[in-house]
């Protein structure tokens, strides 16, 4: 039995070999076919939300995998993506295309700057700080009513076309499902390539032994901040997609319940594989559907799930699957 400490302490799984990529292609292809195979708009709409959640969880999990840091505040970047997109759009502050680009960049940029300060702080304290950062911004969007109606949130209307593309595509469940699905796949492949790059190796080395990394001649703060920025950028992209699809922003997008859910998804899926948190998110969403009636007590359900999974299956689903395959191969 693996101990819960493996959550942050053990080596990530070795990169998958050829059968892994074949499997990945099959999953990707099957996913693309879904809208044409008679899936109902309701199911597709649900899947859009699940994929957006998966993207957020992927950001959180990637930070654990690559930096060894557990963020309790990734909703900040999710919400920021939404607010940087929605607020200028509603108040007509910026050309809409500009708002889209900024919404994709600002979360990563803010995370990089924050990261230069807070990723130097070890383990548990980093978690406190990530939560403190997120709640601080949450309070601001909650209290500054002129920004986006504070607590009530604000609906966002988009121009009919952005970058020459029909925005309606981002609001129709079928097309949005395909867009999200492909984007999620692209994010996962991108992050996986990062983990295989020399820079990715360096970040793993820093995670493993920061002092030694300095003594073999590497600067260690910027790589940590860069990983934080990358993971925040993924969360921000999820927030942008959610805002397009829902046409609505509210402080809930930055609330710690969302950070907590993202963490639960990442923990359920396991963070040693890049795709683990995404798998966890999908399972989590189906779980949410089953719980259904109890959604009034949703925070408690998240809380209990977090406790149970942390204590009973710290390596998560991807860890269980990896062990299963390892046993069969042996």
């Amino acid at each position: 039995m693996t101990s819960p400490a493996t959550l942050t302490a053990t080596a990530p799984a070795r990169p998958a070999r050829a059968p892994g990529s074949v499997l990945a292609l099959v999953v990707l292809g099957t996913g693309c076919l879904l809208p044409f195979a008679g899936a109902s708009p309701l199911l597709l709409s649900l899947l859009v939300q699940a994929i957006i959640g998966a993207m957020l969880a992927t950001g959180v999990g990637f930070l654990v995998r690559q930096n060894g840091m557990v963020s309790f505040g990734h909703a900040l970047f999710f919400g920021l993506g939404g607010y940087v997109l929605g607020v200028p759009m509603a108040h007509g502050l910026l050309p809409p295309e500009m708002a889209v680009l900024l919404a994709l960049l600002v979360p990563a940029l803010l995370a990089f700057l924050l990261g230069l300060v807070i990723t130097r702080i070890p383990g548990v304290a980093f978690s406190m700080l990530s939560l403190a950062c997120a709640q601080t911004f949450y309070e601001v969007v909650l209290k500054v009513r002129t920004l986006a109606n504070g607590d009530d949130g604000m609906s966002v209307t988009f121009p009919a076309r952005l970058f020459g593309l029909d925005v309606g595509l981002l609001q129709d469940p079928r097309s949005m499902y395909l867009i999200c699905w492909v984007l999620l796949a692209a994010v996962l492949v991108g992050l996986w390539l990062f983990t295989r790059s020399p820079y990715g190796l360096l970040t793993l080395a820093i995670r493993s032994n920061e002092e030694r990394a300095r003594f073999i001649g590497y600067e260690t703060v910027v790589p940590r901040a860069a990983v934080y920025a990358l993971s925040a950028g993924v969360a921000g992209l999820a927030g942008v997609l959610a805002t397009f699809y829902n046409g609505f922003i509210s402080p809930d997008m930055m609330h710690w319940t969302l950070s907590g859910s993202a963490l639960v998804m990442a923990v359920i899926g396991g963070t040693r594989a890049v795709w683990g948190p995404a798998l966890g998110a999908v399972v989590f969403f189906f779980f949410k559907e089953i719980v259904g009636d109890a959604t009034e007590h949703w925070p408690a359900v998240i809380g209990i799930t977090l406790i149970v999974v942390t204590l009973c299956a710290p390596a998560g689903l991807s860890g269980l699957l990896a062990r299963l395959f390892a046993r069969r191969a042996a």
Binding site: I121, A125, L129, T257, P299, T310
Partner: protein, 282 residues
């Protein structure tokens, strides 16, 4: 101006009572209790219930005692079994507890805000520097100051206090000195939780009670602990007072961004000294 400063002390005192519990628990168990804000909130609600039955003073006693007992349970059921695990595990578990406790309170008392009436004895005002200042607020300052003084004396003078301080600064070598570690830890966690409960009930007449009320005080306590230097008792005291003042002035002058001020202060201090003011590795 004096009134503003006194109000800053009111908030700083509450902050100190909550943050010092975090520091105590961090010192003895080397973990951060993410559910600490919920203990504050629970203290207010338990106090509310007891006040309704037997008056404000019974509420104060009940909130403190019930939360101290919950602290014992928390140490027994969470911190102790998980002490050999990665501290992140305890973090995840207490974060889960935070979500559960909030939901539990929402279920029992509803999500609408509640208020606790001030005791008649303390409901008057006092004239200070030409302005009226509520006696109750002075009472809050006095309670926080009294608890702080008592705790400091206890830490300095008593055998257990000495042990707690030694353990907080060097857990490895202090572990084996003929003191029953488990009992001391349980007592210290109970004390920390009791402080949170006390802070919750005495804050009750000043704040509106809501299940989410633990959130902002938890975050600001984190900032106090970080700024004060992880696990430092005196650092937490200074940081709580400073942040209490800043926060209060922020509420007076730039209400919407008042939470930004402690946050920015924390970032500046971390840039300057990555391990906080008293600078000891966590």
């Amino acid at each position: 101006m004096i009134i503003h400063i006194l109000n800053g002390f009111v908030y700083g005192g509450l902050l100190y009572l909550v943050a010092i519990g975090l520091v105590l628990i961090f010192g003895i168990r080397q973990v951060v209790n993410f559910a600490h804000g919920s203990l504050f909130m629970l203290g207010a609600y338990v106090g509310y219930a007891a006040t309704a039955i037997a008056g404000f003073w019974a509420g104060v006693v009940a909130a403190t005692l019930v939360l101290a007992i919950l602290g014992l349970l928390l140490d027994r059921a969470v911190f102790r079994p998980l002490q050999d695990q990665d501290p992140i595990v305890t973090l995840l578990v207490t974060f889960g507890l935070l979500l559960v406790i909030e939901d539990l309170v929402r279920t029992v008392w509803g999500k609408d805000t509640l208020t606790i009436a001030m005791p008649d004895l303390l409901s008057g005002t006092l004239r200070i520097a030409g302005e009226d200042f509520p006696v109750y607020r002075l009472f809050v300052i006095l309670v926080a100051a009294g608890m702080g003084a008592g705790l400091t004396l206890w830490l300095k003078r008593s055998r257990i206090g000495l042990y707690v301080r030694a353990f907080a600064s060097d857990p490895l070598t202090t572990g084996t000195q003929g003191v029953d570690t488990e009992r001391v830890s349980a007592a210290v966690v109970a004390l920390g939780a009791g402080f949170a409960g006390l802070a919750g009930i005495i804050a009750g007449p000043l704040l509106a009670l809501s299940p989410a009320m633990g959130g902002s005080i938890l975050i600001e306590s984190f900032i106090v602990v970080v700024v004060g230097g992880f696990g430092s008792f005196s650092g937490a005291f200074v940081a709580a007072l400073v942040i209490g003042q800043l926060q209060n002035l922020g509420i007076v002058f730039i209400p919407s961004f008042s939470t930004m001020i402690p946050f920015l202060l924390m970032m500046l201090i971390l840039l300057w000294r990555p391990l906080g003011l008293t600078g000891r590795a966590a």
